[in-house]
Amino acid sequence: MSLEPRVIAALGRRALSVQFRRAQLLMPTFVLPLMLLAVIASGTSSAQDLEGFPAVGSYLSFVLPGTIIQGALLAGLTSGIALASDIESGFFDRLLAAPVRRVSLVLGRLAGTLGLSVLQTAFFLLVALPFGARYPGGVAGLAGTVVLAAVTAVGIGGIAAAIALRTGSLSLMQSIFPFVFVLLFTAPAFFPRELLTPVLADLAVFNPLTYVVEASRGLLAGDAELGSPIAGLGASLGLAIATTALAVFALAERLRTT
């Protein structure tokens, strides 16, 4: 099956540009994660003195991957919200009436999510710099983190798109917003896995975000001991492929049953 790069690019461009024109979507994707980072970095920095906390140069650099992954989660979720909005408004029918492969409609939407996550991650990394974040992993570490976050955003965007396509409900999409935090806090986003409670630590093993956040930490610090890039890439890619397939299937089901 051949892809339609022009269609995917056009839909991705549209998804991205509309995101920047919709304040209610910009707030959660760019501002909210930074607010949480400010609270965590300033309020829980003494956690690094706990026994078992890895030796890191900067606490901010340690928790920043949590913020980056939170951003990726929110980028993915807002992508589903925007899709549900297109379905409710009838705009999605305009796309369905066009002679394009149905899979391109899903990939176009996720291309926008990927672009958003790249910009968002670069923004978080830059904003954290003047506050003391350091990236010993260098350019390769930064680039790897951006890629991991973008692929993870696509993975979450796939789930969100699947739900939007199955339900077509904007209000339902908005109501799943809190679940983002459940996913985030069942991964060692802001604390090392060793310091989580036994229950959370057990849950974290099954959360793909665990491997992504640890890999980002390792990449930024240039220390593979903090997280394996291969495991992170495997987890994010696996998530992205599985959920994109789920979204494509959800669209096929939607078309079959309408």
């Binding site: 022009r6 549209r14 024109r21 297109d86 009436a97 066009a98 002679p99 309408t258």
Partner: protein, 331 residues
């Protein structure tokens, strides 16, 4: 794409049924044919099944049974070819308010496989055609209803479709915007585009459509040119109101040559004389002469022709909401 062969049906529907949950049949065994190059007006009240039919014909909804072909292609088994052949402007223009008109047109161009420069050129052409060149780089959220409809029409034309589907294109528009859209639809049709138009406005069907289909309860209740449909309901009525009710019989006698004089209904207006005549408005001068020769003083003479609403009432038993008064000519 070249215009469709006028002899070949642009739309061909056979025994089409669409059933929704709860067994509700929005389209119930519909048969119809739209010839290439014509404007076909599909008239019916809200909930009659117009939009359901358009959604099936534009591949957005699957039929429960029956078949439908558009531009020669089956809407289920050859949906992609149907999509390449049609332009669609759905009810209540679903246009992203955060995008500009030009951005939307360029995106639509990409969806129809136009290259970047081609899509850019086509967007400018179409903005010009629908009179939105100045507004083209503004966000659609700031457009008026008429501007949105015109943009919606432009979006449907990006790939020069053979068949254009317009689902209630002027609902909610002011008379000026409505007239502008009608002009554009006529001009497109003159260029060879077949137009399938749904409407709940009688005037719209009458002004635009070569043929009209009346749908009610998911069924096609009547079909034909507006004139043929109106003739089916009855001949125009010449209505003479005499000054003195005592002259009514003399007036009836004088007007007998013009057509079939209706007897005065019991309890009716005694000064009113009604003649059914195929001559319509042309019967007014001879009527006045005949009445004058007999010395009958006349208060008014008018002709009422059946309207599509009369046709609608005759075939469905109900009238369309907001239907116009009967067309009349008076002397």
């Amino acid at each position: 794409m070249p215009p469709l062969d006028a002899a070949a049906p642009a739309v061909e529907v056979r025994g089409l049924v669409r059933e929704f949950k709860g067994g509700i049949r929005a389209v119930d065994g519909l048969d119809l044919e739209v010839r290439g190059g014509e404007i076909y007006g599909f008239l019916g009240p809200n909930g009659a099944g117009k939009t359901t039919l358009v959604r099936i014909l534009t591949t957005l909804l699957r039929p429960t049974s029956g078949s439908a072909r558009v531009a020669g292609y089956d809407v289920v088994t050859d949906a992609d070819r149907v999509r390449r052949s049609i332009g669609v402007a759905l009810q209540e223009a679903a246009i992203d308010p955060l995008m500009t008109g030009r951005e939307l047109l360029r995106m639509q161009g990409a969806l129809h496989a136009l290259r970047g420069s081609e899509a850019k050129r086509r967007a400018s052409e179409l903005l010009d055609r629908v009179g939105l060149t100045t507004a083209g780089d503004r966000r659609v959220g700031g457009y008026s209803g008429g501007m949105r409809r015109r943009l919606d029409l432009a979006l449907a034309l990006v790939h020069r479709p053979d068949v254009l589907f317009l689902d209630e294109p002027t609902t909610g528009l002011d008379p000026t915007s409505r007239a502008a859209l009608w002009r554009e639809v006529r001009s497109l049709n003159d260029e060879g585009t077949t137009v399938f138009l749904t409407t709940q406005y009688l005037e719209e069907a009458e002004q635009l459509a070569d043929r009209v289909g009346i749908i009610a309860g998911g069924r096609l209740e009547a079909e034909g040119t507006p004139d043929v449909l109106k003739a089916r309901v009855g001949e125009p009525m010449l209505i003479v109101t005499v000054d003195d009710p005592a002259d009514a019989d003399a007036a009836r006698e004088a007007l007998r040559e013009l057509g079939r004089v209706e007897p005065c209904a019991p309890g009716g207006t005694p000064e009113r004389v009604v003649v059914r005549t195929v001559r319509g408005k042309e019967a007014i001068p001879p009527a006045i002469r005949a009445l004058d020769e007999r010395g009958v003083a006349v208060a008014s003479v008018e002709v009422e022709s059946p309207t599509l609403d009369d046709v609608f009432a005759a075939v469905t038993g109900s009238r369309l909401e907001g239907a116009a008064e009967p067309e009349s000519a008076a002397a």
